[in-house]
């Protein structure tokens, strides 16, 4: 784990960033508006996993506890098919693409197909917790806000997202679909996760935390709320507030704009897919009394 020092940090995106973002990709600003307003937040010292939880680590957890994920219990998991999401029979963290797939040769890749409760169960077993949304974002951009963990400029080899695999910029859904069709034809529906840390140190955050942009999107401990009650947001986000949990970081299947440090994703806690995982955090000092009596 990496220790992140206490600080008061900028959380969310600036007006300038939001305007720039709107001009370079296909979604309207209202789709990202929930990143606004940028505001300061006090974050206490904490520790965060250097990497997302891997298949190997989740295997150890299930062997120790007998835990079965929600996807395993219901018998299917969400996989993106030829044209949209599909409820794939047999898909789960052990078989991310469904029958015929296996994580046995990908034990160092991040686990996927875990719902929020599955992530919480692992964290409790590991003696840790999920990071809050503010902790996650602070760990990603450091004391000074930046667009991506490594800085303000996008470049090849920085993160595992769709543009890494396509080799070209993706700025709209048509380009993304073209990439996915090629990817699916060549590799099937096995998620394009990579071994944790594969993009280190190039893609690391200022604190040396890896895979905060892409690879897998990550659950946080925070219930989704809007940053400013007096601001106008898309009604869909208003409905998600108080019901959904916050996911951060984007995944291997997202555009570079979807793996920014302040990108927010509101997710139903029962949802899981072949692109969603998590990492853990912990309070500090680890395992010691909060009081010093001598």
């Amino acid at each position: 784990m990496v220790t992140i020092p206490a600080a008061e940090v900028q959380i969310g995106s600036s007006e300038e960033h939001m305007d720039g973002l709107t001009s370079v990709q296909h979604y309207g600003r209202e789709w990202f508006e929930d990143e606004s307003p940028q505001h300061r937040r006090a974050v206490a010292t904490f520790a965060i996993d250097t990497y997302p939880v891997t298949n190997g680590e989740y295997l150890a957890f299930t062997e120790a506890t007998g835990h079965r994920t929600a996807a395993e219990l219901r018998g299917w998991g969400l996989v993106y098919g030829a044209s949209y999401w599909e409820e794939r029979e047999g898909a789960c963290w052990r078989r991310p693409a469904g029958p015929g797939d296996s994580v046995q040769d990908r034990l160092d890749h991040p686990v996927v197909h875990v719902g929020h409760a599955d992530a919480l169960a692992y964290a409790a077993w590991a003696g840790k917790r999920l990071p809050t949304e503010a902790e996650w974002e602070y760990a990603a951009h450091g004391p000074q806000w930046r667009c991506w963990p490594w800085g303000a400029e996008w470049g090849p080899g920085f993160a595992n997202c769709a543009e890494h695999w396509s080799g070209t910029a993706i700025s709209d859904f048509a380009a993304w679909r073209s990439w996915w069709a090629r990817r699916r034809a060549e590799h099937g529906e096995t998620p394009a996760t990579t071994p944790v840390g594969a993009f280190s140190p190039t893609g690391d955050s200022p604190f040396g935390v890896a895979d905060l942009a892409g690879n897998v999107a990550e659950w946080t401990a925070t219930t989704y709320h809007l940053y400013d009650r007096d601001r106008s947001y898309d009604p869909v986000y208003t409905m998600a507030a108080g019901r959904y949990m916050v996911v951060r970081g984007g995944s291997w299947k997202d555009f570079r704009f979807q793996v920014r440090t302040s990108e927010r994703i509101a997710v139903d806690p029962v949802y899981s897919s072949f692109a969603l995982g998590f990492r853990c955090a912990a309070d500090l000092p680890l395992g010691s009394s909060p009081c010093a009596f001598s």
């Binding site: 979604y27 789709w31 859904f173 996911v247």
Partner: protein, 93 residues
């Protein structure tokens, strides 16, 4: 027969290729209203229904403040002026 107003995610306008205008219909049930929506805008069908015609797990539909899965699902009756909010199970990004 209820008068139904749909609220859909902002990015669905991008999917539809532009402004959608008002999404209003008359329907007796949530399923009837969603059938109207997906017939008027076929590109939304895969975002609402599975290939087997069930309400997809990647979408949540709210009647007022209530999730229809906690009511009668697609058979949930509608009356008066009803507002259906369509919220992807993963929204944003």
């Amino acid at each position: 027969m209820a008068t139904v107003e749909f609220i859909v995610p902002a990015n669905w306008r991008t999917v539809a290729g532009g402004e959608l205008g008002e999404l209003r219909c008359s329907a007796d049930t949530v399923g009837g209203a969603l059938d109207w929506l997906t017939e008027a805008h076929p590109q939304f069908a895969a975002r609402v229904y599975t290939g087997q015609g069930r309400l997809a797990s990647w979408i949540n539909i709210y009647v007022g403040e209530d999730d229809v899965r906690h009511l009668d699902g697609l058979d949930t009756p509608l009356s008066g002026d009803a507002r259906l909010t369509v919220v992807p199970a993963l929204a944003g990004g």
